[in-house]
Amino acid sequence: MYRADTLFISFYSDAPLEKISAESRKGSYSVIHFGPDTVYVRVPIRSFEFPNKLMQEHFNEDYLESDRYPYAYFRGKLVAPIPLNAPGEYAVSAEGDLIIHGQAQRRLLSGVFQVLPDGRVILNGKFFVRPADHRISVPRMLWQKIAEEVEVRFYGQYRPESTK
């Protein structure tokens, strides 16, 4: 089992009238089991920090409703196995459920695994989320301020951990 000791998630919404970005640098939990090749990620919505704190409040109150849905999850399975004993870079994909705002979407997410000689595994990549797919309603008045597709980037550093 590999557990992430560092996991950064950021997103970027590029709409005509406003560019919004936010970053989560702590509080996330993720494990990868490299036999069955399962991936689990849990990100607290409240951990996203915005430069504008009012926007952060609206994000939690009116869009992600973090009091009802405090976490975003990804539960999936790697499409192909990773040769952990051979350091190097490997393109990977994982198929599974992306759950945001309590709404699950079947997704195929891609990234890059870097297997380091010291046994650590670095994972990074990006994908797009459509707020509408997760029933995150954007009032018509704000269409010009919030992108139809939000770019999400992730970076995780995993270390082997003995299963109890």
Binding site: P51, N52, K53, L54, E57, H58, E61, D67, L142
Partner: protein, 282 residues
């Protein structure tokens, strides 16, 4: 040795369990803004954020359709600029049309409610100094002070309530029989009806008997009626609009806490919060 190690691990895990912050998440958005219609809420700005507000209070609604329910009678205007030095301390300057009346205030966050456990309420201290630019016999007659302790709780995602104690000191009493010092109880309620629309109501209840008494000559403010207000708040992503009606005699706190007369007035506030790295400022 092995036992000592186990005890240490147990102790560390207990310590960790106590510091588990997921049980004590700070509650946000108890109120939509730093003010409801006329009164301050417990909300303070986040560090290095600015807020600019424009507020209007129109004339007597009772003037009817001929004066467009007071809107033709012109408006008291108030401009406010707030700035947060830290998350727990906001300072502000304001100018309103009564006199004109200038004031500076500070708001210090004392407590922040946490959920689902921990601190049950949020609390904020407010202090302000008012200076009325009006003719006066003595310079200090133009000064007024206001101190408030505000305590609020967000009971659910839809309902928040706030009570406070306000102490207002006026160096120059409003009438020969009027006191220089007033204690009031501002009460604010907020109902979130839709995601971006809330209803609010507020009142400033008197903590003194407003009667002419012989043994206490200065306890009667002629024409005093407890102030009361109703407000609709609409958030449009960046701006917050607050539109309401209230029974107040002006726009600044000395006139909204201490209402004299029966007039109800239309009014609105527009507020915008700016952050230090706000792209719209660059």
């Amino acid at each position: 040795m092995r036992l000592a190690g186990k005890v240490l691990i147990l102790a560390l895990s207990l310590l960790y369990a106590q510091e588990d912050t997921s049980e004590k998440t700070p509650v946000i958005a108890t109120f939509k803004g730093t003010r409801l219609l006329n009164y301050h809420t417990i909300e303070t700005l986040r560090k290095k954020h600015w807020e600019f507000r424009v507020a209007h209070r129109f004339g007597d609604i009772g003037s009817g359709v001929k004066r467009l329910w007071g809107i033709d009678d012109g408006a008291r205007v108030r401009l406010s600029l707030d700035y947060a030095l830290w998350d727990f301390l906001t300072i502000g300057v304001e100018r309103s049309g009564e006199g004109p009346l200038y004031n500076a205030f500070l708001k210090a966050r004392l407590l922040t409610q946490t959920a689902p456990r921990g601190t049950p309420v949020s609390a904020t201290w407010y202090s302000a100094l008012f200076y009325a630019d009006v003719p006066a016999e003595k310079w200090e007659h133009r000064l007024q002070y206001l101190h408030q302790l505000l305590v609020a709780r967000k009971f659910s995602r839809r309902f928040s309530a706030q009570v406070g104690v306000a102490y207002l000191h006026q160096n120059y009493a409003l009438a020969p029989t009027a006191p220089n010092d007033y204690f009031l109880l501002p009460v604010l309620l907020r109902f979130k009806v839709l995601k971006r629309l809330t209803l609010g109501t507020e009142a400033a209840l008197p903590l003194w008997e407003n009667e002419l008494e012989e043994d206490e000559p200065s306890s009667y403010l002629p024409g005093y009626e407890p102030a009361i207000g109703l407000v609709v708040e609409i958030e449009t992503g960046g701006h917050v609009f607050q539109i309401g009606v209230s029974r107040v005699s002006g726009i600044a706190e000395p006139y909204t806490l201490l209402n004299r007369g029966q007039s109800w007035r239309f009014g609105f506030n527009i507020s915008r919060v700016f952050s230090p790295k706000d792209p719209s400022l660059q």
